[in-house]
Amino acid sequence: MSVLRPLDKQPGLNTATILLVGTEDALLQQLADAMLKEDCASELKIHLARSLPLPSDVNRPRIDLIMFVVNLHSKYSLQNVEESLRHVDATFFLGKVGFLAMGAGQESHCSIHRNTVTKLANTYRSPVFFCDLEREGFRATVAQRLVRMLQICAGHVPGVSALNLLSLLRNSENPAPEDL
């Protein structure tokens, strides 16, 4: 009952909902604000959670996209994400899940190797985006990207589905990461 399923609720009219899961509360809040500032034809709803499972007594809309945020400076955030992944149904991973890895730029502060997150994303067949959420310009870029991805996952872009997007993203990566 606490497992997230992609199609267990009716979609809201012209609504797209994203769930951001991560331990970095302040940065997730800022990312959410940046996403809401974006121009978007659909109505955006952004949910923030520290970890899954979500409390089941709340009435929430259908979730179209889940982004797991890992901070490379903190092993705790990775462990948190790994725990939360268990509460997501397998059908969600058909294009409706992604990973955001932040903090790769400051190599001297990293506790986790970049490849650990890449391997995790490959295991779950989902895309991973390396980003910097602390600086406003970069945060705005990530927000823009997430909004476009969310629109596709909610089915608001005619002709492109979440699964199409996933295979497009996979083809542009080189095949070598599969062997890592």
Binding site: K75, S111, P175
Partner: protein
């Protein structure tokens, strides 16, 4: 339609795999630069430092001065046209340069004017394999002008260059270059800067400070705890920095070295090697023990210092080696980090 699209990709990926198996390190590096991926992800396993054959030739007395001193680490690109036969000439050139710099007033030494003497010498036995270039040492000594009988030379600054198991770098450079990627300095910052400038001008190389991140520090903690020691001189200590405002907190955690070794032995599976899973498990045990007592998640903080009986390392690139037996092993890991930073 789908099968047509997927087939060429399959052929391409298997061809790439064969290419990677037979390729030399230089080819692999060129390939990864072209595809803009990072090559050499952390190796999943490393050898536990052992007493190497070459090190047995090492006279403990000669390298004793390297131990118990704090060294600041730098990575160094290969030196162009450096020759081990010209060491005396380099020494005189460097001392002239230092004297000129001091007269310029760039490095003002408080106290009386005294003569500086520079020595270059090779350190025998400080290498991993026979292919590694010889390590060499630079020292700045002061010659006292006092008319006393005692004309002792006081060591003002020491720096040494070495390369331990540097095969991945040695294979990619041509004959004119000498690869000594690891540079360790002890003494005043100003002197380090002056010597660095002279080397950069003379041999067209580049120094950069070698920082050690938390990931590598936890590898060091695991590898050094894994070393067999007859006698433990110091407790195993960790220092974490908690990012919080207004000032950051520091958390220090000290364990009895035999307990740390016992914990490691319970985690360790493959003899002679350390794997990523074992390092993670070792650190996770420490974190969960701490959490059980203090309800603080150490994994959300940043590891800045690791101190064991073998050596101690700080994230700013400072190292102190305490055990002669594992000197080469510690330097091998640092050389690997230095080479990775140069790439």
């Amino acid at each position: 339609m789908d099968s047509y699209e997927s087939a060429p990709q399959h052929i391409a990926s298997s061809r790439l795999k064969d290419y990677f198996i037979g390729a030399t390190p230089l080819q692999k590096r060129l390939e990864s630069v072209r595809k803009q991926t990072s090559f050499v992800p952390t190796p999943p396993r490393r050898k536990i430092p052992q007493c190497s054959q070459l090190q047995e030739d090492n006279d403990p007395q000669k390298v004793a001065f390297l131990l118990h001193k704090q060294w600041t680490l730098y990575s160094l690109t290969p030196l162009y046209k450096f020759s081990y036969t010209n060491l005396k000439e380099y020494a005189s050139l460097l001392s002239a340069f230092i004297a000129a710099e001091k007269q310029k007033g760039l490095a003002v030494e408080v106290g009386e004017d005294f003569n500086i003497k520079v020595t270059f010498s090779t350190l025998l036995g400080m290498k991993g394999t026979q292919r590694d270039p010889e390590a060499f040492l630079v020292q700045i000594l002061s010659k006292s002008q006092l008319p006393s009988e005692n004309r002792e030379h006081k060591v003002l600054w020491t720096g040494w260059f070495c390369c331990i198991f540097g095969d991945s770098l040695l294979e990619t450079v041509s004959e004119d270059f000498t690869c000594v990627p690891l540079f360790l300095a002890n003494g005043a910052e100003t002197n380090t800067a002056i010597v660095g400038t002279w080397f950069q001008k003379t041999f067209d190389c580049y120094f950069s400070p070698l920082a050690i991140n938390a990931f590598n520090l936890s590898w060091m903690a695991a590898m050094w705890t894994a070393c067999k020691m007859d006698q433990y001189m110091a407790a195993t200590e960790f220092l974490w920095s908690v990012p919080c405002s207004p000032q950051s907190l520091d958390i220090s955690y000290a364990i009895h070295p035999e307990d740390a070794k016992a914990l490691w032995d319970s985690v360790h599976k493959t003899p002679g090697e350390v794997t990523q899973e074992e390092v993670d498990l070792f650190m996770d045990c420490l974190y969960s023990h701490f959490h059980r007592h203090f309800k603080i998640h150490l994994s959300a903080t940043r590891l800045v210092r690791v101190s064991t009986s073998v050596a101690s390392a700080h994230t700013d690139g400072k190292i102190k080696i305490l055990c002669h037996k594992y000197l080469i092993g510690v330097l091998a890991y640092l050389t690997e980090l230095a080479i990775f930073q140069i790439d």
